[in-house]
Symmetry: C2
Subunit: 187 residues, 2 copies
DNA sequence: CATGTTTGTCAACGCTGTTGACCGTCACGT
DNA sequence: ACGTGACGGTCAACAGCGTTGACAAACATG
């Protein structure tokens, strides 16, 4: 097979598959991305995809990881943290985190995917926020902050509300940030 | 075919299909429910399902409609409305609305499904709330209330957080309700 | 009674994720 | 140097999916 055809810059075929999967899953989601399409873009036999990663689902999980510098937001001062969180979410929509969250939610039929998301949200959002909160029921309140973030993401990108996606980010951050701050402060 | 086998109480086959689809979709969601399974439970040929409803997706949309007495909550006094909303959502989880929302979100790959959800949320939540809100940017704030509701549903049933599903509903309603009320009141 | 329309049936299509059988290549112990 | 596993890769095939074309039966309408 001609090595200069598609992804000549990736050394090992396994890496080529991983990269192709990352791009295609991020672009089209789990259901709409076929194993044969991934294999084609990687310049590889479809069977090899399964051989290397066990299943389409396992490859999806290994590829779509939730990461991001959210910890920086949460290490700042408690004051105005709600607004900073909203601003961070709005910015992260253009880059990697937004679509990944969307596709993971849409694939949450599977219990394995749910556990994947649950763990990521726990480590990335709940735990750091919970550690910073003062007052009673810090863990519960941190989870409700995470729920508010999930709601924003859902309304912006999972089932986009045109009037919300077109809204002034500043106003969004002020209004929704205040609601988040309400839980952060704890009445 | 033996009429006493599965759904003898439904008159027309089309109605039997609709009923079987409602049950199976609500129980297992879009992806995990096959056309052949629906046909089997309705005691009908698989092809007939498509003949009558056009496609599996169309049947899914016709079956999974978001409805509920949410308007009653929103016609009450503005004071304490946030808490009433949360209580309503928590109760509606056991019955029909919760799972339907979950399965619709998980099927939101398709633009048709997204439009379906968008319209339902608009008519059922955004419009009534927006009509009641006082102050500036009533529409925007109503959409952010809807976002908070979506977030609660997501964290409770789409990717369930065990600590949240096990939490005292009263505390949940008080804390999260206050955050919603923050947007309702508009600072 | 003839005719057109709806209602239902059957087999098949092209697609999907996955696997069993097979082949080539490399490293290693004797 | 030679056999011998182990590993990476290929091919054809499987069972299941949603959907459709061809056709039959049942009905309403002129």
């Amino acid at each position: 097979m001609d090595p200069t055809k598609t992804n000549e810059r990736s050394k090992t075929p396994k890496e080529a598959i991983r990269q192709a999967a990352t791009e295609l899953f991020a672009a089209s989601g789990y259901a709409a991305t076929g194993v044969r399409a991934i294999a084609a873009q990687a310049g590889v036999d479809p069977a090899l995809v399964i051989r290397h990663f066990g299943s389409k689902e396992a490859l999806f999980l290994e590829t779509m990881r939730l990461e991001g510098p959210f910890l920086q937001i949460v290490t700042g001062p408690l004051d105005g943290m709600g607004e900073r969180i909203v601003r961070y979410v709005l910015e992260s929509g253009s880059e990697s985190m937004g679509p990944i969250f969307v596709h993971l939610l849409r694939a949450s039929d599977s219990e394995v995917v749910r556990a994947h998301v649950r763990n990521a949200v726990e480590d990335l959002y709940v735990e750091p926020v919970s550690r910073r909160l003062e007052g009673d029921e810090a863990s519960l309140r941190a989870r409700l902050v995470a729920a508010q973030i999930a709601g924003l993401i859902t309304t912006l990108w999972v089932v986009p509300d045109p009037e919300l996606t077109a809204a002034n980010p500043g106003r969004l951050a002020r209004i929704y940030g205040a609601a988040i701050q309400n839980i952060i402060d704890g009445r």
